[in-house]
């Protein structure tokens, strides 16, 4: 047992949490349908499921953010009512959200103390908090400087602050919501180390993820949800990856990879010493040199926010370069307007599709011509050709299986996945010669993501040049012919797939060059 003297006394330590028959209904949908779930002290229980399977709803109920329509929650076999996150925290339940809840301009100590009463009444007790943070950090290997400002910390370090926050508040059951999504492979290893240490000390951990290999590596038991229902709970040692995938989607999945070798064709896209300024807060690009050939997928790996977005925007004409040149099929396109590049059959799947890639209050049909509305196919002397726009929409709805009542439906009333499909359908169907795909599978569940990957491979096999920007290393490794790594706006290195290992790429992602690696 750890000594949590600051917060102990008011509660007993959690030995087990049991959720029984949890049902939660939202207007028109059953998010959780009689779900049973339990977690014990000293174990990692993974909660697995696709987007919309009901994982988040179940955990939000446990953390007091939602209230179940029916079903009970027991802690140490005693019935409890959790009406708010405050209740949950008082009971010893902590949650590490996917998006951190930290104030960047405050120090680690100040963030931890935020919202808690001071032990000195009206005066601050930051020195005591700071001491306690060091104690906790020591116990679980959460190396952190209590006086560092949040903005100075890497994403992995910020996550540790979140964990410390929960521990400081006396949590002995932690819900980790997709904690590995923002980390480099090395940081993931460190996190797993911390988690193992905590489990040894008697913590219960709920690990939400959709990365199967991580679930298999870290968890003791795994529960799979599908469409709001529990599919089953099994000891992790008794299951394998393909079995879990089958549970998640309801049938077997082939994991797509490019296996065939393709000869790199002519150079489609070439960046020469490209630099650019970025928006406030993000890093720009510094002297980027990159060549993209026809018939290849060049994967761009990197931790989020290292210039991926700037790179994509510079290429498609949405951001000005401050120096350097960009060539598209041997033509200098530096500073060219977006509409000119569209006509050169450059397709762009933007990262924030909901904001940049579609218009919510336009119909599906209108969204499907967004980038080509002034092409002769869809307009004639400034007049829209409604009939051919409609036919185009109907065709793509069928081809890409966009689930919509009709082509006249407002895009905003479609589900997120189907909105993504509108963007993909539009960008992929125009027979592009070059594709910039930024996080094309983010937010999609396994089945839909595999479909998108398949589409990218088809494009590549047809001779299209594809730049795949992704934070999902598995995806990069599955699809890319070559892998480039971006770190703080610089290309750290470009490796052929044969040479690339996760370790090499991971170190490059962290900014460590091969010479330093040795």
């Amino acid at each position: 047992m750890t000594d949590l003297e600051l917060n102990s006394g008011k509660k007993v330590r959690i030995e087990s949490v049991t959720m029984q028959g949890i049902t939660k209904r939202f207007p028109g949908v059953l998010a959780n349908d009689r779900v049973d779930f339990d977690v014990k002290a000293s174990e990692v229980h993974a909660l697995l499921g696709e987007n919309g399977a009901g994982k988040s709803t179940l955990m939000k109920i446990l953390y007091g953010l939602y209230h179940q329509d029916s079903g009970e929650i027991y802690i140490n076999d005693e019935l409890v009512k959790i009406n708010s996150p405050t209740d949950a925290i008082n009971l010893g339940i902590g949650m590490i959200h996917q998006h951190f809840m930290l104030v960047p301009t405050l120090t680690v100590t100040e963030n931890v103390a935020l919202g808690l009463p001071s032990s000195r009444g009206p005066l601050t007790d930051l020195d005591r908090v700071s001491k306690r943070i060091l104690e906790l950090a020591d116990l679980y290997g959460l190396r952190i400087d209590p006086n560092a400002y949040i903005w100075q910390l890497s994403v992995g370090q910020q996550q540790r602050v979140e964990i410390i926050k929960a521990l400081y508040r006396g949590a002995d059951l932690l819900i980790l919501d997709e904690p590995t999504a923002v980390l480099t492979p090395q940081e993931v290893d460190e996190l797993f180390g911390i988690m193992r240490q905590m489990v040894n000390d008697g913590f219960g951990l709920i690990f939400i993820s959709h990365k199967l290999h991580e679930v298999i590596e870290i968890s003791h038991r795994v529960t799979v949800l599908r469409n709001g229902k529990k599919v089953g709970t099994r000891p992790t040692s008794e299951v394998d990856k393909s079995e879990l995938a089958k549970w998640m989607v309801g049938h077997a999945i082939d994991f797509i990879t490019t296996t065939d070798q393709i000869q790199c064709g002519e150079v489609r896209l070439k960046l020469e010493n490209v630099s650019c300024e970025s928006d406030r807060g993000a890093k720009g690009l510094k002297d980027i040199n990159l060549e993209l050939c026809s018939g290849e997928i060049l994967g761009l790996a990197g931790v989020s926010g290292n210039g991926q977005r700037d790179l994509a925007e510079v290429i498609v004409g949405l951001r000005k370069v401050s120096s350097g040149k960009i060539f598209l099929e041997d033509e200098d396109i530096t500073g060219a307007d977006v509409d000119v590049l569209i006509k050169k059959m450059l397709s762009y799947i933007p990262e924030e599709r909901m904001r940049d890639g579609m218009i919510k209050d336009f119909t599906v049909a209108e969204n499907l011509i967004l980038r080509e509305h002034d092409q002769p196919k869809y307009s004639d002397n400034g007049f829209l050709k409604l009939k051919s726009i409609e036919n185009h929409a109907k065709e793509l709805i069928k081809l890409f299986q966009i689930k919509t009542p009709s082509h006249k439906t407002m895009a905003k009333s479609l589900s997120g996945g189907n909105i993504q499909k509108i963007v993909l359908a539009r960008e992929l169907s125009r027979k592009p010669r070059t594709i910039i795909a930024a996080q094309p599978t983010r937010g999609l569940d396994i089945g839909a993501a595999e479909y998108v990957r398949e589409q990218l491979i088809i494009q590549r096999n047809n001779g299209t040049a594809v730049l795949l920007i992704s934070e999902d290393l598995d995806e990069i490794f599955a699809l890319s012919d070559r892998i480039a790594v971006i770190y703080e706006g610089k290309i750290m290195g470009i490796l052929s797939r044969e040479d690339a290992t996760k370790e090499k790429i991971g170190l490059l992602m962290a900014g460590v060059l091969p010479a330093e690696q040795a």
């Binding site: 696709e50 049938h251 890639g357 905003k412």
Partner: protein
Amino acid sequence: MKSRLNAILDALLPLFATLAALLVGAIMLIILDVNPLVAYGALLNGAFGSSNALAETLVKATPLLLVGLGICIAYRGNVINIGGEGQMIVGAIVATWFGLRYTNMPGWLMITLAMMLGALAGAVWGGIPGVLKAYFNVNEILSTVMMNAIAVQLLNFVLTGPMIDPIQSEKASQIPQTARLEEAYRLPRLVPTRLHLGALIAVGLAILVYFLLWRTTLGYRIRSVGQNKFASRYAGIKVERYIIIALMLSGALAGLAGVTQVYGVNFRMITDGSTSGFTGRAGYNGIVAALFGSLHPIITIPASILFGALLVGANTMQRVTQVPSALITALNGLVVVFVVSSEIWRKKRQQKRLTIAIEDQEFDEFSNEIPGHSVEEAS
């Protein structure tokens, strides 16, 4: 089913808001010791009671509709044009100057040219805030209101100086007004009332604006820029250009409204020193009419007529019941407040519905069907 009910409710909302405003007005009438039923009866009679009354209503509705159509375009481009008053004034000044300067032209030619010039002047007056908004991020609400102030001073200047009626300039009274336009230049009357061709032109333009917004690439771009600037840039649309175009079109229609007031109703310009002396507040009331019409050019037609009726009927009501004219102003104000707030409420409700719908869908993505995928059973 529920969504259809919501749609009907949304469409009828301005009507409910008007009724609610009239209800508050009734309380004010009772305080003034006037029977609200008598008062509102007079209002109805004054607006629709005779062919003359009806014609007056339509005459009042014409500038409201024209300004309102401009508001529809501006709103679709997500710019708010409060400058209808100023745009009407400059449109009218330029058209009147032209009509007085060039005599003995065929009537149809003069009317066509005057309308084009008036629209152009309105477009320039609307375009200036457009440029300021697009390139310097100057709030267009502020700049259009300021352009109104400039326009009214311009009006006062030209009517006391360069464009004053030569007869008046010789008199001691010096009433600030222009000379009358020649008979041939006046917009043809439709029936033996004051109803003029401008009303038909406005209805025709409503259809044209509808066509523009939903059937042309120009309208597509204006709506696109209005909905989402990021996605518009991504679509290769030059966002700044279409902000300016939206405000220019809006200004052109208001300018045209000014022209119809001179060529169809007054045949001269006269000022009492304020904007409303010439426009009759059509530059503001047109905004309300457009909101009334859910910012849809076709629905704005009946909305303008309804609002025109309210303006005309209120005058009759004042004569019959002898209520102070301040009450009429208050009543109009009440309608504006209620309609505008109901519109804000509707938007919030819509947002809420949307949020709920999106939350629902979080659980509905992709269900079990996986497209384009080989399905095989694991052994």
